[in-house]
């Protein structure tokens, strides 16, 4: 029996190792690129770039972290612990900002809040002031503007993970605290929040990695983070080795932080009675408090979704009246959806494989394999794309060398030319979301079930198909949707690796933004948001499952 388990596990571990190698290859390619370069780069960086870039990055991350955790956990508690009119709607609507890319939210708000935009124009009219020279609100092209704008679209990650945790928390603990005389606020601060720490940390990690690797909003709003500095090194000074060195250094710091957090968490035990929880019964709020709760929950939805979406709809209508819609936009929508869909399928398959390998591998080194496979999420998109390039073209070259003499024809750029390179880059970049989701889903499957199935003669593949996949479905669906939405929004890798003549919505939008024309930009931006909307709404429905199947977010990352 012991031998059979080992042989079944071995093939899963081999597959997972191949996937991890696929993720590591572009990072290794970056390592190779980093070996060249001029020696005076770091002198320059240390003297003039890093002090400010590190400080600004930390300020940005701290600001976004505090805001997203505050909004995310407060909203999660509000919709799980209380009942008020409209709660069913805000419960899922709070996830809508996930569909809005950071670069879109940044430029929408610049338009809305500009001195010559609608808000300040109306304000001046109200105050009887003629010229914007006499009265202006502070410019959003600033650190605080960037923190707020990133936070209103990133808080859903914290909301999603924390809400799942609150939904699973046994009401018993809460009741005990209540009978000991703790008020509802006290319960939140002293019981629910500490118990939800793993979930908050998972959500927060996603938020911080997104913020750290963000280039769209930060660059647009004039905040020079480390990622923006890496760009300047590479693009403006054509110093790819230098940029690769910086990116790898940043990756190392991120890894160290993630490991430290994991170690710190391991010291504590979260003996949540999660297998048989009695869910929290929401407390019904009365008139005033209900209205206040509703208002509080509408603010983040409005900030992260309603306002930018309304702005885009308005601009789109104006553009359609002015010039109509070009047919190219529909092709671009199709390209975007197809690429994202393919990438989601591959990413999910890879994520399940890695997570399952960890499970059947039973401790030792396999968990490290899963951590390695998740590395892509911690590397900025363009830098990763630059690492993917040589890997992809090497595969093409080797294939030609091996198969060329056999077939008598060259495969050419069959990966870059077919879109496979983009799908590969997406998979590497977002595998963490899929493997994390799969791990958390599998962690809900009792080992006893495994043992029983094994006794009845089921192999590893059959157990996966008949036990793990069905039981982990909500968690896997959540992961798939997150991956899909992220692929839809992805820009830098798409831009660099897509086939000749193929545009996606994001690349079209970027082309216009670079030109500063914003001609069809509103239409395209609206399409990105709308196409991302369906999965987000599906995500919202899936993420409020029966308690038994609720994804255990502890295992994420």
């Amino acid at each position: 029996m012991e031998r059979r388990r080992a042989s079944g596990a071995r093939s899963w571990l081999t597959a997972a190792a191949i996937i991890a190698a696929g993720v590591l290859a572009p990072i290794a390619a970056l390592g190779v690129a980093a070996t060249g370069g001029s020696a005076d780069l770091w002198t320059h960086l240390i003297a003039y770039v890093l002090p400010v870039a590190v400080r600004d990055t930390l300020v940005l991350l701290a600001g976004v972290g505090v805001l997203t955790v505050s909004i995310g956990t407060a909203m999660a508690w509000l919709v799980t612990a209380y009942d008020f009119p409209g709660r069913r709607i805000v419960d899922w609507a709070l996830l809508l900002p996930l569909a809005v890319p950071t670069y879109i939210v940044a430029y929408a708000y610049l338009d809305i809040l500009h001195p010559v935009g609608p808000v300040q124009t109306a304000l001046r009219a109200l105050l009887g002031i003629d010229s914007p020279r006499d009265f202006r609100l502070p410019d959003i092209r600033s650190m605080s503007g960037c923190i707020v704008l990133l936070s209103v679209v990133l808080y859903p990650y914290v909301y999603l993970t924390t809400r799942a945790m609150f939904l699973m928390q046994s009401a018993n603990l809460i009741d005990v605290a209540r009978t000991l005389g703790t008020g509802r606020g006290g319960v939140f601060m002293r019981v629910a929040l500490p118990l939800a720490r793993p979930a908050i940390v998972v959500g927060l990690s996603l938020v911080l990695l997104e913020a750290l690797n963000d280039i769209g909003a930060s660059e647009f709003l004039g905040v020079r983070t480390l990622t923006v500095s890496i760009y300047a090194t590479w693009v403006t000074r054509s110093d790819l080795p230098g940029a690769a060195q910086m990116a790898l250094a940043m990756l190392a710091v991120v890894l160290a932080l993630l490991l430290m957090e994991q170690r710190a968490r391991r010291q504590r035990r979260y003996a949540n009675d999660a297998q048989h929880p009695r869910p929290l019964r929401p407390h019904r709020l009365r008139v005033h408090r209900a209205a206040a709760a509703l208002a509080a929950s509408v603010i983040p939805i409005a900030g992260g979704f309603l306002i930018p979406a309304a702005y885009l709809v308005d601009e789109t209508l104006a553009r359609i009246r002015f010039a109509g819609v070009s047919a190219a936009v529909w092709t671009e929508t199709l390209n975007t959806v197809v690429l994202s869909l393919l990438a989601t399928v591959f990413t999910l398959a890879a994520g399940v494989t890695v997570a399952y390998a960890v499970r059947v591998g039973q401790g030792g080194w396999p968990p490290a394999l899963a951590r390695l496979a998740a590395l892509g999420y911690a590397v900025p998109g363009t830098v990763l794309a630059i690492g993917v390039l040589p890997v992809v073209t090497s595969i093409e070259r080797i294939t030609d060398a091996v198969l060329g003499p056999l077939w008598g024809v060259s495969g050419g750029l069959f990966l870059l030319g077919s879109g496979a390179a983009v799908v590969y880059a997406y998979t590497v970049r977002f595998l963490a979301l899929a493997s994390g989701g799969a791990e958390s889903g599998f962690s809900r499957v009792s080992p006893a079930l495994d043992d029983a199935a094994r006794m009845l003669g089921a192999g590893t593949a059959e157990r996966l198909r008949r036990i793990h996949l069905p039981l982990a479905r909500p968690a896997l669906a959540t992961a798939a949707l997150l991956v899909f939405v992220d692929c839809m929004k992805e820009l830098p890798a798409t831009l660099l690796l897509r086939p000749l003549g193929v545009e996606t919505l994001a690349t079209h939008l970027y082309g216009e933004a670079v030109r500063g024309t914003y001609e069809e930009a509103a239409i395209v931006a609206l399409l990105i948001v709308v196409a991302g909307l369906a999965p987000v709404i599906a995500l919202a429905r899936l993420s409020r499952p029966r308690a038994q199947a609720a994804p255990d977010v502890q295992a994420w990352l």
């Binding site: 202006r136 300047a232 403006t236 553009r319 070259r397 069959f414 831009l495 670079v514």
Partner: protein, 342 residues
Amino acid sequence: MTHSSIRLRRAALCCLMGLAATTVASGQELNLYTTREPGLIQPLIDAFTKTTGVKVNSIFVRDGLAERVAAEGTRSPADVLMTVDISGLIDLVDKGLTQPVQSAGLERAVPANLRGSKGEWFALSLRARVVYAHKDLNLTSITYEQLAEPRWKGKICTRAGQHAYNTALIAAYIAHHGEAQTEAWLQGVKTGLGRAATGGDRDGARDIMGGICDVAVANSYYVGLMRSGAGGPDQQKWGSAIKVILPTFAGGGTHVNVSGASIARNSPNRAAAVRFLEYLVSDEAQKIYAEANFEYPVKAGVAVHPLIAALGTLKVDALSLADVARHRATASKLVDKVGFDR
């Protein structure tokens, strides 16, 4: 996995293959890699295809064009590499990704200082780095040097110092005045910034209208794009809120930059590629550059757009652009050093 999702996957794969199939190069096609935004060159591509019957497949890549072509190596389908600024062109040449071209047509149309000496690159259109000023401001002329004067403290808007448009201007300043003086100047201009150095050139006009700045450093063709109404009614308002001054270096001329192109080293359709470049400097194409993009044609004798002609007579700075491009890395480092983009 359900049947419907498998079917969807298959459909998706077919779709992707279809996309791939359209990009395979054949005799009457040519492949264009460009850092120039697709909207700006599409009219030229369409006109070329109409005239010659040669189909152009294009891909817009911003950062990493050189890396992509280099990685593709000898199997690269790229025929023509097009960039938005001189540094990008020189970078491609330096990395060995281009090949020389001998063409009487190109040499006749493009002045010698606007092409590589061996025909490794050719400028196709010019633009000037100009100053937008509030229309009521009492200002009729200005030098780049004067932008550092205390009178502009908190009144200048421009895009990021690390953006190619600004690094090229700073590089030209270095070529004129040397590194030390440029640093002091850049420090002065930084003190002049009325907001974070970011965004696009049109934001300069909008921010002047919004009272954030009095002057903005920006490209000439945006004036035409705004004032013509091509970008919609809002932009027309921005364009009319400013007046445009053609600044010069003290004792020199106005800083210009180019969009240009090279033939890729491993171009599979070289003949078509040369034909494309020759077309781009023809009277017809140069007129499109002037009319649709509001740029200055490189070819003598082709008229500029009336909106651009109205800005005044352009006196191009005499420095060689290739020399300017050599100072780009230093310019970029100075931007870091004075903290221009903070």
